[in-house]
């Protein structure tokens, strides 16, 4: 056992390793979560509690029971009345409780709300179920032409403030990459009480089925190259914000994780690679990371963290330029 210290601090939580299992089917079940922990995960983020889905399920259930009910003399309805339906957040809260009971590592719940009351109510419930932190899964698709970028950002910050005021536990915010001014946004959510930022959310993007001519949303696993976008913004934010930073999307091996930590990530989240290779992906990655760290004579993850961020790296312009410009330049004659 080497002396390399892989521990890190994220949202004020002490983690044994910088690899966090982010929301995925693997973090939705206790047995696979235990395997993730065993493989060295520093924390896990549960699948999101979607307020919209909960409401949809409840309404559908009511609609189905009402459908055809009390409208025909031979049938009072067409669905049996069950003792309990376990709709609502109950199932999710039980998952939080069971995870907390089963795991040593911190359990982060993830929440996606659609109304102020929903954010508030569910955040409180999650806190009381014992989650160590809440990751807010905020997203808005602004189709209204009169809605400005500022409007959207204000909406986000309001949501963050709603939750941070409602709970005591730390709150992180997971956002998509489509922000005009990520650094300014980070400041805003910091002021709204957030403790961390998770960069970046990968959404269920639409697709078109060429046979049925339907729009079919589909989630695809990340590809390794995707980590370069969070790499840039983590490097830039790491020296401009005291928010905890988590990199997510595209970390498919030790090299990716190391780069992200060097850029300033407190933790690197993994999902796709763990789904592809199983929970042992984490232990393999940690072993490789440890080897690299030892070979490069770092003492700890904490020491590494941010040593290649925008401020500390030898060529900060590299983070500011768009990569293809640089590539283009190298093939053309120097500009006059």
């Amino acid at each position: 056992m080497s002396s390399t210290d892989l521990s890190t601090t994220y949202l004020g939580l002490e983690l044994v390793s910088p690899l966090v299992a982010s929301s995925s089917p693997l973090t939705g079940k206790v047995d696979s979560a235990l395997r993730l922990e065993e493989a060295g995960a520093g924390a896990i983020v549960l699948p999101s509690l979607f307020q919209e889905q909960i409401e949809h399920e409840e309404l559908e259930l009511a609609r189905l029971h009402d459908f055809g009910a009390e409208s025909y003399s031979e049938a009072s309805g067409y669905m049996p009345e069950l003792q309990a339906y376990n709709t609502g957040p109950g199932g999710y809260l039980r998952l939080v409780e069971r995870m907390r009971a089963a795991l040593e590592i911190p359990v982060l719940a993830s929440l996606n709300g659609i109304s102020k009351e929903g954010w508030e109510r569910h955040a409180k419930l999650i806190e009381s179920a014992g989650a160590n932190a809440i990751e807010l899964n905020i997203v808005h698709v602004p189709t209204d032409p009169s809605l400005t970028a500022e409007n959207v950002e204000n909406l986000y910050t309001e949501q963050v403030a709603t939750v941070t005021q409602a709970v005591e536990i730390p709150v992180s915010v997971k956002v998509g990459a489509n922000l005009s001014a990520p650094v300014n946004f980070a400041t805003k959510i910091r002021d709204a009480g957030a403790a961390g930022l998770v960069l970046f959310n990968r959404f269920l993007e639409p697709d078109i089925d060429l046979e049925t001519m339907d729009v079919v949303p589909r989630l695809e696993l990340s590809r390794p190259s995707e980590m370069r976008m969070p790499l840039r913004w983590i490097a830039i934010l790491s020296c401009r914000s005291d928010l905890s930073l988590a990199a997510t999307g595209g970390a498919h091996g030790a090299e990716d994780a190391l780069k992200l930590i060097l850029a300033g990530a407190d933790v690197v989240m993994v999902a796709s690679a763990a789904i592809l290779h199983g929970p042992s992906f984490l232990s393999d990655t940690l072993t490789e990371m440890r080897t690299w760290i030892e070979e490069h004579e770092f003492q700890s993850v904490t020491q590494m963290k941010g040593s290649m961020n925008h401020e500390n790296c030898p060529n900060p312009a590299g983070f500011e330029r768009l990569n293809y410009m640089k590539a283009l330049m190298s093939y053309s004659s120097p500009s006059p």
């Binding site: 259930l61 459908f67 009390e70 067409y78 669905m79 049996p80 199932g91």
Partner: protein, 1192 residues
Amino acid sequence: MTERFMTVDGNEATASVAYRTNEVIAIYPITPASPMGELSDAWSSAGRPNAYGSVPSVIEMQSEAGAAGVVHGALQGGALTTTFTASQGLLLMIPNMFKIAGELSPAVIHVAARTIATHALSIFGDHSDVMAVRSTGWAMLCSNDVQEAHDFALISQAVSLESRIPFVHFFDGFRTSHEVAKICALSDEDIHAMIRREWVMAHRSRSLDPDRPVLRGSAQNPDVFFQAREAINPYYDALPGRVRDAMERFAELTGRRYDLVDYVGHPEAERVIVLMGSGCGAVQELVERRVEEGEKLGFVKVRLFRPFPAAELVAALPPTVRAVAVLDRTKEPGAVGEPLYQDVVTALAEARMDGVIDDVPRVIGGRYGLSSKEFTPAMALAVFDELARDEPKRHFTVGIVDDVAHTSLEWDRELSIEADDVTRAIFYGLGSDGTVGASKSSVKIIAQQPDTYSQGYFVYDSKKAGSVTVSHLRFGPRPIGSSYLIQLAGFVACHQFSFLERIDVLERAQTGATFLLNTTHAPGEVWAHLPVEVQEEILRKELRFFVVDGAGVAREAGLGGRINTVMQVCFFALSGLCSAEEAVERVKASIRESYGKRGATVLERNFRAVDRALEGLQEVDVPARPAGDLRRLPPVPAAAPDFVQRVTGMMIAGKGDLLPVSALPVDGTFPVATAQWEKRGIAHEIPIWDPEICTQCGLCPLVCPHAAIRMKAYPEESLEGAPASFKATTWTDKALPGRDMTIQVAPDDCTGCGICVQVCPARSKEVAKHKAIDMEPREPHLAAERESFAFFLDLPEVDPRSVDADTVKGTQLLEPLFEFSGACAGCGETPYLKLLTQLFGERLVVANATGCSSIYGGNLPTTPWSTNAEGRGPAWSNSLFEDNAEFGLGMRLAYEAHGNHARSILRDIGAELDPELAKSLLVRCARDAEAIHERRDEVERLRGLLGEHVGRPGVRDLDELAEGLVPRSVWIVGGDGWAYDIGFGGLDHVLASGRRVNMIVLDTGVYSNTGGQASKATPRAAVAKFAAGGRSTRKKDLGRIAMAYGDVYVAQIAMGSNPRQTIRALAEAEDYPGPSLVIAYSHCIAHGIEMSGAMAHQKVATQTGFWPLFRFDPRRELEGENPFQLDSRKPTKPFSEFASKEARFAMLNHANPDGAEALMARAQRDIDEQWSIYEQMAKMGFDANEPQENPR
């Protein structure tokens, strides 16, 4: 003693005691008793214990006969055992009932008494079923209202255990079983106080037990049977006393006092009515009122009917009685009188003969209330008036106008004697708007008020889509005994504006009443939008008129079309029962109780609607006179035939009660093709056709459950005179050149289900969401589409000989002879029936099992079974639920007998008539459209020739039977409840009969008609009523069972998966010269699916292997081919993909994730195994050199 109240219907009141006092409960769905079984099943699966601390074992059987067998067996095993039933179900129990009583086994059958099917089926209430079991040896105890149903459930159970004599405990179906009322509840302590432990022990000790073996159920000979039968007498002799003792004990316990017969009225009454059941409520109201006024009237409630308490009845009559009218809620044609009448006459005669009384009063007998016919105080008064006559009718009827045998008494239809301190409210709603649910909740809310009693009764029409509901709600300071519909209401609410054009909703509004209307029209504008008849009634009755935009409020609150809570709050606010604030709070509390389980969102949205309801409630300043020229629509168009005008139209208008006896057929035979006259206009959106992009595939008319979208290809010149709005395009199929074609919606018959649009494959290239048919709001298109549809109907039908009936397109050019049924919007069964009529309609005979298909097919006022221009079309009948295969076989045998007779005569005399014609008729098979057409011509020619040979032997017979030389296509139609369960034995026998009959099973996998109870077709892991924990066993593979015979044509089809295979299978089945069985996947609202996408969902059913498609044609063996053809591909998707789209599976996943996972895994294994077997069967080689023996 502290009284505990509950507000329940008669079924729940009964089941709550039956459940707590039994260990084994055998159930089977039958209206109106099903809820008792459903409740028991739900309680049992929730682990609720009975009064003895054990959870009753509830088992659904394949029929009531099966349930009775289980009851008999469980009683032999020493268990406390019960069952619930009604009508034909009780009849199926009769054989076991004799045995159980003969063996002195204590048990109670709780019966929601319902009409026995005679000239017609009726789901409603009377005593014809219980009267059919009065000779079985079971004691019979009658409850008159919901409280008594609760109390007598316990009294009968207690006395049965004490006396060993089994009891039929009965109450009136619907009037009592479905009436919601506030009653005093019996506790478990009450149960223990009534049922002594030693009686239970004694019952157990008599059980069959190998530790102390006995023989029971022997066969006896003439030497001892008679004596043994008489040995039982002391038990019956002791019974009335025991019932009376139990009633005494019960009175001490609860304060509620009953006797074997109860007399109510003047102590010196001269005229007395005797009756049983809910009708007592109406008589009591009248008697109490008139006695107060000094009249010497009285009436006797008979509670114990078997053993008949003759002495008690005689003793109950005041000695002053001069005339007695006995009312029976049943009819026994040919009897001296109905049963209760005969018993009363006999009791009085015996009393006179024994010197107990000096004089026998005049006794007359009358029938009332058959099939839940209203029985009111005014009718009771008519009976008393008749008793006052010098020569009253010895046998009479009351409640109808009998202008044939003149049995009926006249009554004062205007008379209302309801108490002033009873509030009466009527609510007109649509099935889907939740009015009934809200009214039930109102009854419960009001009942919570101390010293206030409430009652709710609910009337539905017989449609499943767009049904009208009428809720009758009473409340007042005393228990409500009024056992009849509200005649005059102080509050009337109309929850659907469109009703005003069709229904006289203010008919029962009393002068000065409050009228609440749900409308989008503002108070200042609404008046002009009311039909003049409504305006006049508002003015004449001086109504206070309020409006609310309930739909707007509900929509804003996120409740869609569920306006019920909004309307409920408005009712409370206007009723004066409590303050507006309190009304809001009470409704919220009730919502929390009813919907709490379903989650916070549902509560929040309902609360939002409740909070906003009163903001929109406004009083209309009623103008002084009518305005505008809107008139209420006639019930049927003027073009309808005479019978439809005179009779059907009255039923459609809700005035069928006014029809006299002479208006109705004597034998239950009705004209067909009547649904076309019942224009209901229930769709909000209808499909609108775009001929530019239509590919003329024919899928939309194929899948339409209501034949409300149709396709015709017609000669171009037919378009002459077409209305401007009529759309047409060139018919592109080369088979019928030079034609135009049209896809046309029937805008007043469409239910707006949207299935046609979902299956439409033709999309605009520019705007992908625009299809060749799109659902659009009905109103803007209505006038044009009405005109177009009328023109469309007059376009010539295609000659069936000219189309390729093997294709979707071809079949859909054929005229459907099944149209506009009252089935649910989006029904998965009716498209198959419609297709049958397109393929074989003009020679189709249908034997229809009871169930959904017999209701949408044959429930009056109208029928969708229709005729073509020649007047030919399907002939249809329904016998029973259990015997349908046999019923259809009987039809086939009749046609065979007549066909054979005709052919034998033809063989004798054919040579003299026309040898060529005779030969053709005797030898050629007529199978396809061409041959059938020729056969009709031949028959016509034959009959023409017969005219010249009148008087020759056989000629007359041949003339009568010649039509039978055109082949009849006999189809036995039913659901899975029939085919898999109750009728399986008969189905199996018919499969084995070798006769040429076709059976189609419309397989929804549940008893759809009675509300979705599990059958043996219910798939594993699905939640259904009677399988609330998820069905744990697999669906029966009926196809494989049938294939095992080897000479039966079997097919499994799903129209949405492969319409071509469906068409082919039906054609092959019909063509097969032996029995055929077609199992048709039928989606159903009981699956909890999005109905508009149901056909695409059927594809997934097949892709997952849940519903493989196959055909098994024994004829192929003769060609050396495998008779089994698997028509669907190896499953490409997991079962979970199918299941996740159906609430019946998804619900379990939520409620019990672990259990659901295990069941789903097993369900997947079922599919894998079945597929593997089918695959092997399909691969089996058949040797062409050694053909099997010809199956026929």
